[in-house]
């Protein structure tokens, strides 16, 4: 085990190349609905059990199924009304189980990225061949069902190995959503090729807010607005990214959706907000800031050489 994954270098928030988003936007705003399939009785991984109680653990299983049957449309229609396209964090097996849902997202020109095969199959303990197989499965499945070559990755249930990022770069992914260290995109250190992190967010994630912080729908709404207000203000100096990761089974409950839509209306009611997808943000960053940032990292390292190894020594 390592004490630091070595995935990124240190470049202080205040010392970076200035980011300017398209049309002078201060903030790149994206919404990432997790469209997930959990198995009722799938195999166990020695590192983690899918369900806390004896199977069928029907409360958590069926509440997730609610997202696909009921909540998804509530969430999607609220996004439609605010002109927001989703970047779908997809359990790719859902293409097989619920193709109608995929069609609805396709119709709206949403982006799809991989969130593993099922959210009950974890990467822990996979050997390299197995991890390659799930990446290839995700690429092939999404290509077949949507025509899109996936560009982004959020590991299934946020489970990783030490090689996950290197493999993503090797398979030509543009961005990872797995790192929570920043409010701006940033280069990820990989063995070969390039990869960046695009800010996803655990803090703005509905299921974390609801089921870890136990907030009410109105407090969640207020968190979203506060997060936006500050990032928008700071984005005047250098562009920031705000992401709202969603789960239709949480935000799509009847007692929660209206408060969420209020926040979404508030955010999209501002000028100088770039309504983007994960891929669009990543591509724009590669095209305009990647090289400049890599140079700034090297420069900073020279001026402030760390006395211990950080960032993988690249």
């Amino acid at each position: 085990m390592k004490s630091d994954p070595g995935l990124y270098d240190y470049l202080p928030y205040t010392q970076r190349p200035k980011i300017e988003w398209p049309n002078g936007a201060h903030i790149a705003f994206w919404v990432a609905p997790n469209v997930e399939y959990y198995e009722l009785d799938g195999p166990s991984n020695p590192a983690r059990q899918p369900w806390p109680k004896p199977r069928p653990d029907l409360v958590p299983y069926s509440e997730r199924d609610f997202g696909n049957r009921v909540g998804h449309f509530r969430m999607m229609e609220a996004m439609d009304r605010c002109g927001v396209r989703g970047s779908v964090s997809l359990s790719v097996a859902l293409c097989d189980h619920h193709p109608e849902l995929i069609e609805e997202c396709k119709k709206r020109d949403w982006e799809f990225f991989s969130h593993g095969i099922y959210n009950t199959r974890y990467s822990y303990n996979m050997n390299e061949a197995q991890e390659r197989a799930i990446l290839q499965d995700a690429i092939d499945t999404v290509q077949k069902h949507t025509g899109q070559r996936i560009a982004g990755y959020l590991a299934p249930a946020l489970t990783h190995t030490e090689r996950t990022m290197d493999l993503m770069a090797e398979y030509d992914f543009l961005y990872t959503c797995d790192l929570f260290h920043d409010d701006q995109p940033f280069p990820v250190n990989v063995k070969k090729g390039r990869l960046i992190s695009v800010p996803y967010s655990l803090e703005m994630n509905d299921i974390i807010a609801y089921n870890q912080h136990f907030v009410t729908p109105r407090v969640y709404r207020d968190w979203l607005k506060l997060n936006f207000d500050r990032l928008f203000e700071e984005g005047k100096k250098s562009g920031t990214v705000m992401c709202i990761p969603l789960h239709a089974y949480a935000v799509g409950q009847a007692h929660r959706i209206a408060a969420f839509e209020e926040a979404l209306k508030y955010i999209t009611g501002h000028d100088k907000v770039w309504l983007a997808t994960g891929r669009e943000i990543a591509q724009y960053y590669y095209d305009n800031y990647y090289d400049e940032t890599v140079a700034a990292i090297a420069d900073h390292k020279k001026k402030y050489p760390p006395r211990v190894e950080t960032g993988g020594g690249s």
Partner: protein, 321 residues
């Protein structure tokens, strides 16, 4: 409700996985099991309630008995005993519901002419027959809620024992209520793989454990289909006040928001169901009953609301399928 993510040792990542971990036996169209069909709510045929009501209001007080000797395994129902035996504080705090709280709750419903479908642990009926009379004299519906909160249904329980639990609950409640007892809610919403078959075999027509829909749908069992009724879980008093530890005012607000969303959807997609679960040991406390009354006032103040029992709602839905 979150799957556990905590590390419990330092070497959990050092195992190997068989290649079968990458085989997906149920990767196919529809569900990964055979209990019900995949179906998106917005694509279904609209339902009409009597008198063009938009919302069927289904209020479900649950009358529960938490035995002092509840086993820790396989798990404890929400509200179950906490301390080492004898846990007098939690035992009596739950008993409060059947002694005092329930009367506050029933009175709140009476004053607003709201019907109830009362989910009974059969042990509550056996211990306190007066409560059964309180329900039947109002012509409210009795729904089976298992034997008690320690007699869970789960994989690992011997099937003959589980069958006996189902039969004990239903025969007691049917005999004492004089009603057919058509609905079932498992204690702690916990089922084994066999529970729906065992319950349906005893003539139950609707079940309320699965929380995957806002409307009824057909649920397959070995004795034919039962109706899965949308007995919402996230909006109940115990979810908001006990699990989330939010305030009474937060409870009222979320009930109102739930109603408003369903009411608006009903205008476009046909009748909807607002289910509200009430636990007298929680909402019946003197400092909380006012919040329940406030929530009920809001629901009672709306037109186009049909206060109905589970069976009435199920029958109206079934007639249109």
């Amino acid at each position: 409700m979150r799957p556990p993510i905590d590390a419990t040792s330092d070497d959990q990542h050092t195992h190997s996985l068989p290649d079968s971990y990458l085989r997906y036996e149920h990767r196919r169209y529809g569900m990964d099991h055979d209990r019900y069909e995949w179906s998106m709510l917005v694509k279904r045929k609209p339902v009409e309630w009597p008198n063009q009501a938009r919302i069927a209001l289904w209020v479900v007080p649950a009358l529960e008995f938490f035995p002092l000797d509840t086993p820790v395994k396989p798990f404890k129902a929400q509200g179950g005993m906490v301390t080492p035996y004898p846990d007098l504080r939690h035992f009596t705090l739950r008993e409060f519901g059947s002694r005092v709280g329930v009367f506050r709750v029933f009175e709140a419903l009476d004053k607003r002419n709201i019907k109830a479908t009362v989910a009974f642990n059969s042990e509550v009926a056996r211990r306190y027959p007066f409560l059964m009379e309180e329900v039947t004299r109002r012509n409210w519906e009795v729904m089976a809620h298992g034997v008690d909160m320690a007699k869970l249904h789960y994989s690992g329980l011997d099937e003959a024992k589980e069958k006996a639990q189902v039969q004990e609950s239903l025969s007691t409640l049917r005999e004492m209520s004089g009603q057919p007892v058509r609905g079932w809610l498992s204690p702690a919403r916990s089922e084994s793989f066999a529970t729906p078959d065992l319950v349906a075999a005893e003539g139950v027509e609707y079940m309320c454990d699965w929380i995957n829909d806002d409307m009824p749908y057909p649920f397959h069992t070995k004795s034919g289909d039962v109706v899965a009724m949308p007995h919402q879980h996230w909006i109940s008093d115990t979810t908001i006040l006990f699990f989330y530890k939010q305030s009474g005012a937060d409870f009222v607000q979320q009930v109102k928001d739930q109603f408003d969303t369903l009411y608006a959807e009903a205008g476009e997609h046909g009748g909807r169901i607002m289910a509200l679960t009430i636990h007298p040991w929680m909402s019946g406390q003197a400092h909380r009953i006012g919040f329940l009354e406030e929530a009920l006032d809001y629901l009672a103040s709306k037109s186009d609301v049909w206060s109905a029992t589970g069976s009435e709602i199920m029958d109206a839905w079934k007639a249109q399928q």
